[in-house]
Symmetry: C2
Subunit: 332 residues, 2 copies
């Protein structure tokens, strides 16, 4: 089992109020790099700050790393349009960040990214992989892709109150500037992700296509961004069995049609609950309030913990340990 | 413990007869990428062929990966002037391959590479790292650096008969074109590696300086290229304890003054013997004939096996398994 984390950036994240993946718009550009460093090293190396939501909820990378400490899975990070440097080792599959989806062509090299990631996916030696993401603004591009493909599913948010109206407005502007009607890119995933997506979605869908073609079982570890990735894969004609592992926080979100989407896209759904409700520690309590919800493979990592017989109490304890270690890392 | 593999290229490797790290001059440019993939995945992913010496001795990456399978250490690959792509995840610390050391300035950005690698080394979270290399032509640039620094030690070779006269001639030409007398760069490691070295040596010496500054213990896992790296570090004024872990194949090589060098540069020397003498399997027998000798952290990996209580018989068996798996990977 290998967890493949795909990190990147989209200018869509710069729209005020659109994302909770980072406390500020400026800080947010470092979130994917910091997430990858946390998974790789258990702490920050080059990244300047621990990503937190505007109200202080820590990145789900902390939970995924906690599980890694407990069960020891392998990882691989793909840089799909990363803004800035990271000390985490990466394979580069996209050269530059995606544009704002209100631009006509936010991912000009979508076809090239799909192809590069597909070739890599085909050659991976693993029987099984989980695919995770970190890209601020990613649920908005996911909604853009779903709309372009004509899929009816809604998307979740890393904010406690999903800015649904804003996302719909951004997507409507994006469709207009790209000259697309809703559903006009059905059956053409390269066009959908090139005109309305981001480089991470392009890379994930290519990776899944290649991996499934060579007999590797794929579980998409994430929330509604992975619904968009799965839709791209299905619109490319892939009929392979694909899993979707996410958290109860996404499943509870009424703005996301998780069960309908998993069923409509023929995904084997696993929903995990780390038992953060009623926990006193602020890093856990924020999740119980509906912040962050998912990302950086959290739901998939919880599946791995469960499979290894590691209880959620151990995951919670280790999550607090990882969080406190990072938080105090730069203190004197 | 983390094994940090630093991979890159130098045009010096294109000089006919200079290197055994790859069967042909053309194939040789893929050797570092293939080595990194073998350490990361246990097989080739993007790299087209298993690196072998001109007479068929497989890359020492096979031994290092065998030990990784048995004892499970973490790894990190730094790309220091890599030619071409690799599917192994890397942190890029140098932008382009080094030139031929017969050019006036083969590593124009030596100071920048040293700085980037030093900053990374300083921030690594590890208590202990081993540093390994893969760069064809690396013993010739190592001789260039040692000569520029005024260090009297000779270098080994991945070929069974060390082309010592050719290396000396190349180094003499390099010194002349760089306007350097032997020893003229003493105390100035940036100048020595910039005028007579390669980007991998620049990155390794920066990494060691940074890591030791932040209290991480470093073992240089390699042969006489690591003697050159250690010399750069000592000429930068570093007095920290540094280890050198290498194989009996380098220790036996009379053209390399291993013990003198380790003593002169104040390195804690470990010499390991994987017991390849008298083994029937051609992949092991070639080492016993003095081919390859070291590289890709082989000597360091054997130290890790020993430390974990894994016997050399297990290492040999696993080496054959890894080798056969890669060799048959692309067969129908």
């Amino acid at each position: 089992m290998r967890l493949i984390l795909v990190i990147g950036a989209t200018r869509t994240a710069e729209i005020p109020g659109i994302s909770g993946a980072g406390a500020t718009t400026d800080g947010r550009q470092h979130t994917p790099a910091a997430d990858a460093e946390i998974i790789e090293y258990g702490g920050l190396v080059r990244a300047p700050i621990l990503p937190v939501s505007p109200s202080g909820c820590p990145t789900p990378a902390v939970v995924t790393r906690a599980v890694r400490d407990l069960v020891g899975f392998q990882s691989l990070t793909l840089a799909a349009g990363l803004a800035g440097d990271t000390a985490a080792p990466t394979v580069r599959v996209a050269p530059e960040p995606g544009g704002d989806i209100r631009d006509p062509v936010p991912v000009p090299d979508a076809a090239g990214i799909l192809r590069t990631a597909r070739d890599l996916g085909r050659r991976l030696p693993d029987d099984e992989v989980m695919v995770a993401e970190s890209i601020p603004g990613g649920t908005t591009t996911a909604l853009g892709v779903l709309t372009a493909l004509g899929e009816p599913y809604g998307v979740s948010s890393s904010l406690p109150t999903n800015p649904v109206a804003l996302k719909r407005e951004v997507v409507a502007e994006g469709l207009a500037s790209s000259g697309l009607e809703p559903g006009a890119a059905a059956g053409d995933p390269g066009r959908a992700v090139g005109l309305m997506g981001d480089p991470v979605l392009a890379a994930i869908s290519g990776l899944v296509l290649g991996a499934t073609q060579s007999g590797t079982h794929v579980t998409l570890a994430g929330g509604t961004q992975m619904i968009a990735a799965a839709a791209l894969v299905r619109h490319a004609g892939c009929e392979a069995g694909v899993g979707l592992a996410t958290t109860v926080f996404v499943a509870r979100d009424e703005t996301a049609d998780l069960h309908d989407a998993a069923s409509g896209l023929d995904l084997e759904l696993s929903v995990t609950d780390p038992g953060f409700d009623g926990q006193a520690h602020p890093a856990l309590a924020a999740y119980a309030r509906g912040e962050a919800k998912e990302g950086v493979g959290m739901g998939g990592a919880l599946v791995l913990a469960d499979r290894a017989g590691v209880g959620m109490r151990s995951v919670r304890d280790r999550t607090i340990t990882v969080y406190e270690a990072i938080r105090t890392q730069h203190e004197p």
